[in-house]
Structures are given as structure tokens and as C-alpha cells.
Subunit: 357 residues, 3 copies
Amino acid sequence: MKFSDLLQELNIHEHHSLSIAPDCDPEILELAAVKTARAGTLSYIEGVKFASEVDRTQASVLILPPNPTLQQKATDRHIAWISTPDPKLLFARAVPLFYRPYHPAAGIHPTAIIHPSVQIGNEVSIGAYAVIHEDVVLGDGACIYPHVVIYPAVRIGDHTILHANCTIHERTQIGADCVIHSGAVIGAEGFGFVPAPEGWVKLEQSGITVLEDRVEVGCNSTIDRPAVGETRIGYNTKLDNLVHVGHNGQTGENCVMAAQVGLAGGVQLGNWVILGGQVGVANQAQIGDRTQAGAKAGLHGTIEPNSIMMGNPASPYKVFLKSSAIYNRLPEMHQTLRKLQQQVEALQEQIRAMEEG
Amino acid sequence: MKFSDLLQELNIHEHHSLSIAPDCDPEILELAAVKTARAGTLSYIEGVKFASEVDRTQASVLILPPNPTLQQKATDRHIAWISTPDPKLLFARAVPLFYRPYHPAAGIHPTAIIHPSVQIGNEVSIGAYAVIHEDVVLGDGACIYPHVVIYPAVRIGDHTILHANCTIHERTQIGADCVIHSGAVIGAEGFGFVPAPEGWVKLEQSGITVLEDRVEVGCNSTIDRPAVGETRIGYNTKLDNLVHVGHNGQTGENCVMAAQVGLAGGVQLGNWVILGGQVGVANQAQIGDRTQAGAKAGLHGTIEPNSIMMGNPASPYKVFLKSSAIYNRLPEMHQTLRKLQQQVEALQEQIRAMEEG
Amino acid sequence: MKFSDLLQELNIHEHHSLSIAPDCDPEILELAAVKTARAGTLSYIEGVKFASEVDRTQASVLILPPNPTLQQKATDRHIAWISTPDPKLLFARAVPLFYRPYHPAAGIHPTAIIHPSVQIGNEVSIGAYAVIHEDVVLGDGACIYPHVVIYPAVRIGDHTILHANCTIHERTQIGADCVIHSGAVIGAEGFGFVPAPEGWVKLEQSGITVLEDRVEVGCNSTIDRPAVGETRIGYNTKLDNLVHVGHNGQTGENCVMAAQVGLAGGVQLGNWVILGGQVGVANQAQIGDRTQAGAKAGLHGTIEPNSIMMGNPASPYKVFLKSSAIYNRLPEMHQTLRKLQQQVEALQEQIRAMEEG
């Protein structure tokens, strides 16, 4: 694809914040990071701090931040460029013009075992050895990869993709345009046991799990159904790999959970909550809109909207950064404290002597 | 089901600690949390702190704690009620009267591949595309969901359930009435490598993994087999999702591990040990009976029975709560300490001057 | 196998650092830990601190450290022994003489679905219900267990083993002599989303995942592919269960990651890096050769080679051990500090009075 075609495909002329290099129109053959780019590569620079990359890159086309120095450098090196306030976002919009992940054609593999009661939309793909139980509904364009198992009474929305080896348990409702990655398990029994004199007694999990539209669930992640009511993942929320959402968890829209995050039972996240890797959220915690938690944070109780939290138990990040910086000086502080105690005792003794003398 | 039938099914009259509302006998149609209950719902109140819910709920039947005020409130609102010291436990016993998870009928799907040497008990269910290798024994009423793979020489006890897409490795022994959830892997090779000049050398794992009766293993959890000897999960122990038990791990009975707990190699848990989410237990640690560890705790060494531990490295919870409360005042303490040093120096100077003067 | 045969098989005479018991030649029937050994058992003692086990064990053959006292004890108890500086390593070399994990015979199961374009080496084993898409290459002796799904254009090296229920995504390259354990997912889409006014926009992941020779990946672990470029796991690197490696992660050779480790995007590990259980490494962190991190550590930024790190945020272990030892004395320190403040104020008051008086 020529640079000029890219501009057209991205509707660049409709965006006033863009500047366009006037005079070169290279062929774009591939995508790469700016460091490994070569002739024919489209790449991007996230911000001014990567400016030196513009001096060195072999890329033919760059997406740049709106910085005249960078633009001039690119022009000087005969690199075609587009400038935009969010280069990574424009790059994300460009990628599908050059690359599409593997997607099987519509059609039902003869080895798929599909209960006669299953309702199948138009242009659905069902892969080899998929097993789909009774009363399942598959929306138009749904894509079921090989070896997916769907328990009874599940609903899968239009254009939703279930990757190989994932398992969807009974009565789960998955919206449209969702992606469930390999090995994920949605809607399995929540962890409900009640202590009794004879040992733990199972609390059967009669509720359901609901994923709204555009949700993505990473590989080997698990989202449980509850004893009563529902577990619900909000619109356009994205879960990375190996994430756990316990029974009755609720998220707003556009939340993000990095890998290995765990939500205990009954957690509520607002909208646009971002949880770093390995964050844990305690039972029944309520996390306000746009709150962010750094990797490994432990959240509990009620967290106000717009908080940025770190540490376990989590504190506002400014407090945490100050405290953790001093943490390593604890031995020194401890020593200082002992020395001060001795000095104060000596002073007390001296004064006592002076008063008596 | 009528309220009066529920009382009969639960054998309420045999329990002296229960009180029964005398005069109303509503039909029970469903189960729900007290907040979302409506006419025809059976729900429960865990304790007096949820008292205000009794004023608001639309439930037709409530299970209450033994509190006369709550009982009177319920009676006044024409809610049928049962009172018991452990409402959640009675609710757990009631749920199966209204809800049973999906369970396939007995029978062997024609696509299951079963080695001729496999011994199959009575009333066993084997789902589509299950693969069962040589010398496996399946007890009466065992339920093997679709896409389960069982390696050779495994024993599965009576009425044990293996959910879709789980994998049981060679020579594993699983007791009766166990539940292995989707994606779990039991009895795979432990992580055994020995450093050598040429790099890590594999230590083959010749031992076995044993799950005693009534064990549950959550989705995508992993329990490894050891180089020699066995990994053993004790009677009625419950593991949530994404839990890891390393080679030679041993647990007593009735232990509970919340999601994402990890036990390193050779860990020993006593009976009734409860580990919160994301807890880690170090190599060879020995954890006494009835010990509890808060979420994210890091346990190592020997922990006495009945301990309640928090933090990493874990401390008794009272110590941890005090210390972590002060943690965020470290910057302030550090400043105070510097100020005190200056003040003491000034005092020393003054006294020196006074003594000289 | 006789003890004398074991010596021959292990080529003991070629190793000068070994001493051999002269006069007994027991039959070896099994392997066990020294504590549970009985007649006919081969076992080992890792170091002198386990010396008392030599007094008690029922083992017939022991591998000992080069310690004359232990050797004499063993001889006195008529235990045949070999002495070597690294008993566990020699034990690891001996295990395959007595135990081999289950390995299916070469051959292709008739239910495996293999695209006609797939290239299959010699002596390959492909299990029941495996699904192998177009343009995959399987090296000689590769072993694909039942229910493995391989997406298009994947390369699997010679003698590599893929256990049941694992999933290999498109264009992944796996070297020779690798082992991928059950449920692992290699080469799935990295977690790439860019915030936009309308919500998170997917950044398609056009890169690839590469595993060099002799890599092992534990059960249910996940290694993602990146937006551009590659994710690469170096030669002989070993990952335990439930490990996550994010997009663009790079490791050197002979790294070890214990269970539940998580590497965020773009992490670089040098050679021989060892990460304890539940360690997290932050985005773009660079970890030097031979660095070790204790369980639950949180690494970020640049870590020098040969570091030993603990805590979150991680510190050199000596600093961490001192600081964490004092952590629990924070309440006491806080009290001391307040008392000192009062004492200093009193002293200031006294001196003021003396100066005025």
C-alpha cells in the first residue's frame, strides 16, 4: 500500500490535527517497532522522549506526535510522516490495513457436535470437535474455534469469537463483538462453601455470568457465576490472561485488568477502572470510576473515584511512593532513634547534675 | 414449593434452635439475594447488621438469625421466616431443592475414545470426545464431561465430576465425590530442574498426585506430581480457580485456598487451614492446623496452629495491622526524627555553653 | 538394576570426584526420598545438614555429598553409596534409568484432523482429536498429545512434546526438545488496547512468539505475541505453571520462572535469571544476568547483573531483610519517637528556665 492510500484509508483529511508530509509517497510493506524498522516499514513514535529514534530509524513512514522538530527531522531524512496528538492510537487504526489475525471461514465442521435445539445465526463458523449443548444461541458471524465446549442455555452475541479450548458454562450470556481467548472458563461455579460441624458444605451456584458487548477475556482467565444473582462484566471491558473474577463481581464499562489480577467475591468496579498486573481486590470492595491501581496493589473497602492506589494494603500513590522510599531506611532510622534516646538520657543527666550542682 | 414443604424437606422440626413463623405458607419460586428478592423469593439475612434489609425486601420467605426483633419485623411484613444460628448454612442446604447444576445423563458418548483396559463403574457418564487411556478406573456414577483427557493408570472415585477441558495425568488418584473444574490440570510433572555446568537438567517426576474424597479443584488450577513420593490434597479440601500446588505439597482435611494461591514445593498444611487470595507459601513451609492467612500474605518456615497471618513476610495479624497503619506515616516519622536530631544538637550546644559560661 | 550396573550406566568411573563403596552390590527397585526409603530404594542426601537421615534411612543405596563422616556412617550401616559434590544432580541423572514418564508411540491417531499442507517429520506421534491447521511444520519425533490445537503456520521443532489440551497460536515458532505442558497457550494475542474517546481500541498483534530449544512451559501458562516484533524465550529456559509472559518479553538462556510469575510487556531478562513464585516484573524492565528475585518481589526499571532482590518495590535482599525485620517494630518506634519529642520539649523548657533563672 502506498503512503497516499494509507492517508485515504485512515480518512486523514478529516482530522484537522494532522499534518501530512507533502512530497514523498513510499510503498508500505510491513509494520515494526521504530527500533527494528527498515525500508518499507510503517512505524510510530509515542512521544518527544523517543526523538532520537527519528535520527536512526530505517522506517519509510512514521506516525509522529505534533512536534515541529520531529517533523523537520523526518522530512530531512526523507521519511514520510503523519502527525497526530495520539500516534499509538492512529497506529492501532492503521494495523488492520496490513494485518488481520487468523480467522476461519464461515461454516460448520462435520465433527462439531451440536444439539438440535441450538439456534445458529448467519455466517457462523464452528470448528472441529466443538461441542455445543442444548438451548444455546449463537449470533450472526459468531466464530467458535475448534475444541470449544459450550454448556446448555448459553447465549453468544453477534461476531463474538471463542478461541480454541475455552469453556463456557451453563446459562452464561456473552454479548456481541466479544473475544474469549484460549483456555478461558466463563460462568463456572463460584467458590461457595459454608463451614459446618461436618466440614465445608457446598453452596450451589444458581446465578449467571453476563458479559456485555465488546468484552475481551484473556487466555486461561476465569469468571465465575454466583450463588444468586449475576456476575457482570461491563461494556468494552478488557481482561488480560490468568485473571480471576469471583462470584457476583460487577464491572462498569471500559475497565482494564492486567494479567493475574484477582477479584474476590462481590467486588464492584466503576467505569474506566484500570488494575495493574497481580492486583488483588478484596471481598465486597467498591472501586470508584477511573480509579487506577499499580501492579500488585491490594484494594479493599471503598475507594473514591479518580484514586491512584499502590501497595498492600493500598494507599494513594503519592503516600505510597514516599513511604516505600523511606522503607529501606528503616534500619538507619531505628539506629538514629536509639542514638537519640541515649543522647536525651545524657542531656537529662547533665541537667539534673547542673540543677543539683 | 410451599414454605411448609420446605420446612419438611429441611427437617426443620428436628432442629431445636429453629423458630418457625406460624401463619403464612407462601409458594417459593426462586432464590435471590435479599436486596434483589421479589414475591416468591427465598432469601436469607446473615446477621443483625443487615437488619434494615428486612424492612425493605420483597422476599416471601427469609432465613433469619435468632433475633426476636428481626423475627417480629418479618412477621409484621407477612414474610414467612425460619430462624437459625447459621442462616447461610441453612440457605446452602435449601438451594438444592430449587436448583441443580447441569449434569449429563449416564451413558457413554460414541465419540469418546476409551482404551479397552479401562474399568468403568455403574451409571458413569462419559462425554463427547473424552479420551481415556489404558488402565484407568472410573468409579460408579463418575461424570466425565466432554473433552476431558485422562492419561494412563488414573483412578477416579465414585460420583466424582471432571468438567470439560480438564486434564488428569498418569497415575493420579482422585477420591470419591470430588469436583475438578474446567481447565484444571492434575498430576502433571512437578517443576524439577537441577543446575549443572551445561544448564538446567530435568529431574523426572516419578511420584504421584493423590486427591482424597470430597476435594474440589477450581478452574485452571494445577496440582503437580513430585520427583518421588506424593502430592496429597486432604479430605474435603477446596481449591478455588488458578491455584497452584507444587510437587510434594500436602494438605490436611477441610483446607480452603482462595483464587490464585500458590504453594511452592514440599509445603505442608494442617487441617482447616484457610488461605486468602494470592497467598504464597514458600518451599517446605509447615502451616499449623486452623491457621488463616489474609490475601496476598507470604508464608514461610513453621507457622503455629491457630495463627492469623498477614503481610509479606507474614506476621501475626495484630502486629501487621499496627505496622501497616504506621507505614504511611513513615515520611512524617522521618521528618520528626531529623528535627529531633537538630533539637538535641542545639540542646547539647546550649548545655556546653552553659557549663563553659 | 544392580548397584554396579548403576555405576556403569552413570559412567561413574569417568568422574574423578566420586568415591564408590567397595563391597556391597544391592538390587535397586525404586526411587524415594531418604525419609520414606526402604530396602531396594535409591535415594540421596543433599548436604551435611541432613546427616541424621543416614542414621535412620532404610535405603539400600545413597548418593552422598563428599563427606567422610557420612560415607563412614553409610558403610557402617551396609548402605551402598556414591559420593559427589552435587548429589541431587547425580540423582537427576539416575532417575531416567528407573522411571520414564508416559510417552505415546509414534503414529497418527485416525481422529486427528491435519490439514494436507502440514509437514510431518519422522517418528511423530499425533494423538486423538488433535487439530493441526494449514502450513504447520512438525519436526522429527515431535509428540502431540490428544486435544492439542495448533493454529496455522506454526513450527514445532524435533522431539518437542505438546501435552493434552494446550493451544499454539498462529505463526508461533517452537524449537527442538521443548515441553509444553497441559493447558498452556503460546502465541495468543498480546494485551494491546489504546484509549480513545469512544473507549479502548484494539491494537492488533501482528508479531510472533518464539521459543528456542529446550524451553519448558508449565501447565496453563501463557506467552503472548506482540503488536510488532517478537516475544522470545531463550534456550533452556524453564517456566513453571500459571506463568504469564506479556507481549515482546525477551529472556536469555537458562532462566527459571517459578509458578505464577508475571512479566508485563517488553520485559527483558538476561541469562540465568531466577524468579521466585508470584514475582511480577513491570513494563519494559531490564533484568541483568544471573539476577535472582525472591517470591512475590516486584521488579521494575533496570536491575544490575548478579542482583538478589526482594520485596515490592524490590530492594537488594540484605536491605530488604533488615527493613522487613524492623517493619514489625514500627509501632514501637512510633511510640519511642513521641516520647522523645516530649522529653526534648521538657529539656528545652528546663534549659530556658535555667537560663532565665
